[in-house]
């Protein structure tokens, strides 16, 4: 197993993160239909990148680059990886990026129906989950963990907490994506979906907070676990602040020609923060599964 494949997997995960930012810019600029055709833009491979076409065509170019990188990673894994399940995960990533591209094209051809656009945004996060997981699985620390900690009847399972936190973040990301794709400038706030997203933020704060604090309280000397747990808490605080700022910038300027740059910057940062928080929780969860050993106690009924 070479270090090269791990570095390449990290590159693909970083490129995917950049792609999510590019996609968030398309939504915030209301640029999804800047061109009515797909895969070409106004019938050209490289149209003049003016107005909102800069964001939409730019997003397509970044997506193409990520697609090529994912193909390369899937092939790289076939030659350099011994574990068959990791090889298969490479194919899953390739399948994900192709399906994602098709969903992107479909939503343009169908004039951005909410269901398809939200599915496109959700699959983006699932694809990101796959690329981050591949980066973790190919890392040296995963292959040869230097530590192992045990838990024996210490209350709530850390594994279960982390999985629930991960699921809660994914649901919250889907809610956020649906909220963003259903927003119109003349919509009055708050909408029902916005309230659901705020409710989701409270749920994520409680579950992820409990997960990270449990990890820190039980294994604070284990840097392999403590670092992502602390990062998750910091990102959670940042994400909550960005969410509030996104609401304020969206609601504070109803008479201005939308979208305004402060609102675009904050909402894109909020999407990026959500993706980073998701990636950090993925890393935390996978590491917990890797090094936390659950010692099962066997109970034997005493003879009468």
């Amino acid at each position: 197993m070479s270090r090269g494949v791990h570095r390449f997997a990290v590159l693909v995960a970083c490129a995917t993160f950049f792609l999510i930012i590019a996609g968030a810019n398309v939504t915030s600029h209301d640029a999804g239909l800047a061109t009515s055709d797909w895969p070409l833009s106004n019938g050209q491979f490289f149209p003049k990148m003016v107005g909102n076409l800069f964001w939409e065509h730019g997003h397509r170019m970044v997506a193409t680059a990520v697609g090529i990188l994912t193909i390369a990673l899937a092939i790289y894994l076939q030659f350099s990886e011994r574990r068959s399940w990791v090889k298969r995960l490479g194919w899953v990533a390739l399948f994900g990026v192709i399906a994602q591209g098709l969903l992107g094209g479909l939503t343009v051809k169908m004039n951005l129906p909410l269901a398809v656009s939200s599915a496109h945004a959700t699959l983006a996060q699932l694809f990101f989950l796959t690329t981050v997981s591949l980066a973790v699985f190919t890392s040296r620390s995963w292959m040869s963990p230097t530590s192992s900690v045990s838990e024996a009847g210490e209350g709530v399972s850390i594994r279960a907490l982390c999985v629930v936190a991960l699921a809660a973040i994914l649901v919250q990301l889907v809610l956020g994506a649906t909220l963003r794709h259903s927003a119109t400038w003349d919509q009055w706030l708050p909408t029902g979906l916005l309230l659901a997203h705020v409710g989701g933020a409270i749920v994520v704060t409680l579950i992820l907070g409990a997960s990270a604090l449990t990890v820190l309280s039980r294994h604070r000397h284990e840097k392999y676990l403590a670092r992502p747990a602390m990062a998750a808490l910091a990102l959670l605080a940042m994400q909550l602040s960005l969410g509030l700022a996104a609401y304020i910038t969206r609601a504070a300027s109803p008479y201005d020609p939308q979208p305004l740059n402060p609102m675009i910057a904050v909402t894109v940062a909020h999407v990026a923060g959500g993706a980073l928080l998701f990636a950090t929780t993925i890393i935390l969860t996978l590491r917990v599964f890797r090094v936390v050993r659950v010692d099962r106690q066997e109970y034997v009924l005493a003879p009468a």
Partner: protein
């Protein structure tokens, strides 16, 4: 070369690709048939030569929100052609409101059939121009199935996007120098928002009615609805803003060859979308469905 599972994945990917391509082919502009076509029995009564008019003025009470300058720096062609572009939501001058759509919503012609029971034949095409990176006119009305000629007078590409609720969504790119596009709406709808996805500040509104009894207020707030058959009508003045727009209603009687008057006034906090320094709060909270808005 590939394992059995890898072949299965590749097969799935190819199947989805083909399905997606099939669904995206055959796109392009479509004109739906059906809709509100004049059928035998609902063609309007022949003119008796006794039609009248409805005239009036649209005014604004209080201080209207100021027009805001639009940042067009995303496209240099827009900045050079329209360096001082401003928002058009409330075009108020000396207390008079332009761009208000005034129309007959309901009523009875000559005490017989309701105006909505007839479908008038579509008149000649009207033009919607993209000039200086804004739409001219900003508000317009058409009769169902009337052709709308869409023109691009700018040295840049526009993307005209009709976003109706009752008619099919329609989105077309129109590069500079491209021939005019033609679009028509088959179902009555007041009003259809139109936007440019290339330049998000560009907005227009198109009202689609079964009849030609409508007008748009001019800069001095005046309007005239011509050739109105004698009858008793509900006249509505619609102005953009406040979510899906604000309406004022008035009952008007048009006598044979008569000139009825209908003056409307907008203004006050109820019609505003909230003050810039406040956070607008909606009184009723609806849960959006998973459909296109």
């Amino acid at each position: 070369m590939f394992s059995k599972r890898a072949r299965l994945w590749l097969g799935l990917i190819m199947a989805i690709s083909l399905l997606s391509l099939a669904s995206s082919c055959g796109g392009g502009p479509k004109v739906e048939d059906g809709g509100e076509t004049p059928a035998a029995g609902n063609t309007p009564p022949p003119s008796k030569g006794d039609e009248g008019t409805i005239t009036g003025k649209v005014s604004y009470t209080g201080t209207a929100p100021e027009a805001k300058k639009i940042d067009t720096s995303a496209d240099a062609a827009c900045t050079s052609k329209s360096p001082n572009l401003t928002t058009e939501e409330w075009a108020v001058k000396d207390g008079k409101v332009a761009n208000t759509f005034v129309y007959i919503k309901d009523g009875t012609i000559d005490g017989a059939k309701k105006v909505g029971d007839y479908v008038w034949p579509a008149p000649a095409a009207v033009t919607l121009d993209q000039d200086g990176c804004h739409y001219k006119p900003h508000v317009m009305g058409v009769v169902v199935k009337q052709d709308i000629t869409i023109k691009n007078s700018d040295p840049t590409t526009h993307n005209i996007h009709f976003t109706p609720k009752n008619n099919p969504d329609w989105n077309q790119s129109q590069p500079n120098g491209a021939p005019t596009l033609t679009h028509k709406l088959n179902v009555a709808e007041v009003l259809v928002p139109v936007k440019c996805n290339q330049h998000p500040w560009m907005k227009a509104y198109v009202a689609v009615l079964k009849h030609p009894f409508f007008a748009v207020s001019a800069e001095d707030g005046s309007f005239t609805i011509k050739n109105v058959p004698p009858g008793k009508y509900t006249v509505v003045a619609w102005h953009e803003g406040a979510g899906s727009g604000t309406e004022k209603t008035m009952e008007v009687t048009v006598a044979a060859k008569g000139a009825a008057t209908a003056d409307f006034a907008f203004g006050g906090t109820a019609e505003l979308r909230g003050q810039p320094s406040s956070m607008p709060v909606v009184s009723a909270i609806e849960f959006p469905m998973v459909i296109k808005h």
